[in-house]
Amino acid sequence: MSTYRQELRGRFATLGIVIVVVLTALLVRLWTMQVLNGESYAAKAENNRVREISLEAPRGRIFDRNGVPIVNNRSALAVSVDPTHEDVRSLRLRARNDDTADDPTRRELDELFGEFGGMLGVSATDIFERVNDVNQEALRPRVVAVDAPKDVVAQLLERKTDFPWVHVEEIAVREYPFGSLAAHVVGYAGSISEREFEDSDEYAGYELGDIVGKAGAERQFEGVLRGDKGWRRIEVNASGRPQGIVDEQAPRPGNDISLTIDIELQRVVEEQMSDAMAEARRQGYGSAKAGAAVVLDVTTGEVLALASAPTYDPSVFLGGISKANWQTLTAKESEYPLNDRAIMAAYPPASTFKVITAIAGVNAGITTESQTYTCTGRWTAMGQQWPKSCWKRTGHGTVSSRSGMKYSCDIVYYEIGYEFYKRKLEELQAQARAFGLGTVTGIDLPGEVSGRVPDAAWKKEFNANYPEYQLWLPGDTVNMSIGQGDMLTTPLQMATVYAGIANEGIIMKPHVLKDVLDSEGGVARSAEPEVLRRTGVSQDVLAMITRSLVDVTRDGTAQAAFAGLSAQVAGKTGTAEVMGKDDYAWFCAYAPAQEPKYAVVVVLEQAGGGGAVAAPAARNILASLLGEPVKTVRARDDSR
């Protein structure tokens, strides 16, 4: 019996060991988890309980030079669709797969979105397009309507069970108190597209679908206007329901900026352009629908007004532009209203270029102010087989260099140009480049083009595949001397040329930014006037040019347009010939002539002669600048 007792004791001892082993195993496991890896589990627990949402920073506002808001912020009710909701997601997946036969049918879309869309006045297909937009963060609700009527929003919220995928939230949107006015200067904002997001480093630190400046100042000053996003960390329970705020970092609103634009002047400029185009159409130039105008302060380079026609309403981009609107804005028939022609379009400057030919001619000793030429309307100096005409076929008779400017006599400039050709020094090109032609001005707006100053090297390369066209011919220099041929300039470039002449040969860098404002509305940083280039043209020569340009408005090609204006204006008409199109009307000017302050350029595509429509528009812009009455000028004038 005692061995049995001993055996039993042995078994109990075994049991005791089992107990200790089991409890020790658990203890070791707990030690590993809680003491050795406690921190990593704690991080996971924190991650579980806390969701971070980003808080959008209000975008900086944009004011004109006098503090008038051009772009404001306001809150709007946005109705959006949750793309991750089961009903919506299944349709999206079918539209995404390669099998087009499986795409959701019109009927299916109507079934899901029909009633909802009807309430908002958006078609089911449009809604689906938005929902399927790949240019958005995958989980982000897709805005389908901004500023939906309050009663509709209320209904949508009440009928949550019918539309479980609908979200309504208040979002900050841009507001444009002046509508389309100055649209090309301020630009517009929209969500970053997938391509932009992936293809450039520009948007590091952004999320797909964030609102960014896409054009104009909105884009140029994105870094200033944007501000810094904030975040809020909220505690959620296991079902994701918020329980409270853990902590938050308020967003830092973007800085407001003020532009050099004077919005009232801008209004005058845009009205004058559209009046002028209407007048051109009335005069038979039916295609006069596009153009650009620039007003510069010649002493500072400030852009007081900058307009491009046709224009657009930036508010169509709010909450994402609809496909139909986008197609309209990018269609050829609409004349590409998104393009800012003042800096993106390069036109032949035509006779407005003659100031540079004149300056170059005097500098080279080819001509003087009083040198005379004979204009018979026909010019055969390059040989009988290469005749050229003056725009005035009957001829100007005997003209001097000075009156050649006044009447815009082409023969005078052919002669000068031909001399340049014979000297083979490309001095005319050099003079053009000295005024900044052929390179961008560096204005603080995106998308500026450089135009072109043609020369022998350029022509050879341009016609690399056409050996027979590679040689620089006398006609090339002759055409260039009247701003035709292959010469191309932007309206802004010509504005800086005239501003440079006006400002004693010094071209100030054009800019639209006036001040960056701080959060209290004070000035954080101002744009200082900056010399872009010193042309080196002597004051005597500049004075000569001014004299001849004053003649133009007093009794020359722009006489009719400037009738009744008391201020002295130095200006030049231009009428550019463009293959297959009606003539493009130019007018470049600065005023007051003796103490210049402003430079104005107006270009109107296919609007006819510069004196007829462009000069009257410029005249009224200057009148407005100089405090003189604006009046309707009907200058039916063939003068160029």
Binding site: Y4, E7, L8, R9, R11, F12, T14, L15, G16, V18, I19, V20, V22, L23, A25, L26, L27, R29, L30, W31, M33, Q34, V35, N37, G38, E39, S40, Y41, A42, K44, A45, E46, N48, R49, E235, V236, N237, A238, S239, Q243
Partner: protein, 371 residues
């Protein structure tokens, strides 16, 4: 032998066992209070928990007062009652389904208790009597088979509910009692082989309910069911691990109070303890369990007969396996099953059963000198 009343009383009382059991109950009540604090009817649940403790004192006292040696004579009745308990949830009008298993009984729409909990104690008493009848040596296959037949019957009835976890407790109880009862080593080898083969057969032919298979396998492959069992396991591990050395404090566990832990007051009560009281709190719990089990082992050793010793060992086996399985599942060492943690988990059936087990131990202890 003449003894005074007070001596007789002291003989009957096992102070360490009662002390450790009481300490565990108090500890458990504190953790249950914390776990239920954020629930809709938190205070009501706490009251129910305490009521369960008080009610449990009755079977404890009855078992204590009853001479266990006389239970042997009730073998037939106990077997019948045990079988009835295991079948009862299946009886129409009596059984009620909860959590995918029909393991509760109710009367007049009031959910009463889980009969399989109480059945554990009856099983211990019944099988202990069988094993004790072999006089400490199980070297005939027929004897081993007889015990296995009891296990198979009970296990089968519980699997029908189906409640795999509780079934495994019966397996653990049986094997640990067989060790004490002197079963030969090679029989354990055979039993192990049978279990392995059975497991393979069951998994290969998908004899288990899918949820059971998931629960069993998810601790090997957590991705098997990330929102169900795998989710529970992951969240439980995060809770316990994030408790660190000292814990986040009672009611301050984010995993617990934000509902990341399912069944946090019942099966996953240890996750709450681990999160809120940390490693130190867990060590205290394991220390209390160690003390409880050692006290129970001392009672087994002190038993005047093999029957009492094996009853005590059965209780130890029940508790030890439930501790291992329950805490083990919360830390990912064991498959996820619905077994309560002794004295800690919310739930009256389990509390009553555990207090009844304490009563059985005390009955063995108080009769160690014979009558």
């Amino acid at each position: 032998m003449n003894k005074t009343t007070s001596q007789r009383f002291l003989d009957a009382v096992n102070v360490p066992l009662m002390l450790w059991a009481a300490a565990l109950i108090v500890y458990g009540t504190i953790v249950v209070a914390s776990a239920t604090s954020g629930m809709a009817d938190g205070s009501g649940m706490l009251v129910r928990h305490i009521v369960g403790i008080v009610v449990g004192l009755v079977p404890m006292a009855l078992a204590w007062a009853f001479d266990y040696t006389r239970l042997r004579g009730w073998q037939g009745v106990l077997v019948a009652f045990g079988a009835f308990l295991l079948v009862s949830p299946r009886i129409p009008g009596l059984g009620v389904e909860a959590g995918g298993a029909t393991s509760w009984v109710q009367l007049f729409g009031v959910r009463l208790f889980q009969p399989s909990e109480l059945a554990k104690l009856i099983f211990i008493v019944v099988v202990a009597a069988v094993i004790a009848s072999f006089k400490g040596r199980i070297d005939r296959p027929a004897d081993a088979m007889k015990v296995m037949a009891f296990l198979a019957a009970a296990f089968g009835l519980i699997l029908m509910q189906p409640d795999l976890g509780t079934g495994l407790v019966f397996v653990a109880i049986t094997f640990i009692m067989l060790i004490a009862g002197g079963m030969k080593g090679r029989y354990f080898a055979v039993a192990l082989a049978v279990a392995v083969v059975a497991t393979i057969v069951v998994t290969q032919f998908h004899l288990l309910e899918e949820y059971q298979e998931d629960r069993l396998l998810v601790f090997i492959e957590p991705e098997r069911d990330p929102t169900g069992a795998g989710y529970s396991l992951a969240q439980s591990k995060i809770a316990i691990g994030s408790g660190g050395l000292t814990g986040k404090g009672l009611q301050a566990g984010t995993q617990s109070n934000l509902n990341f832990i399912p069944a946090r007051h019942t099966d996953f009560i240890f996750s709450v303890l681990g999160e809120e009281l940390g490693f130190i709190g867990a060590v205290i719990l394991l220390g209390l369990y160690l003390a409880l089990l050692v006290s129970a082992l001392a009672i087994a050793t002190s038993s005047r007969d093999l029957y009492g010793a094996i009853i005590a060992v059965g209780v130890i086996g029940m508790w030890l396996f439930q501790i291992l399985e329950n805490i083990g599942m919360t830390v990912g060492m064991m498959p996820i099953t619905g077994i309560p943690l002794p004295f800690l988990s919310f739930g009256s059936s389990a509390m009553v059963t555990n207090l009844g087990a304490v009563g059985l131990l005390l009955s063995v202890w108080s009769r160690r000198y014979g009558t």
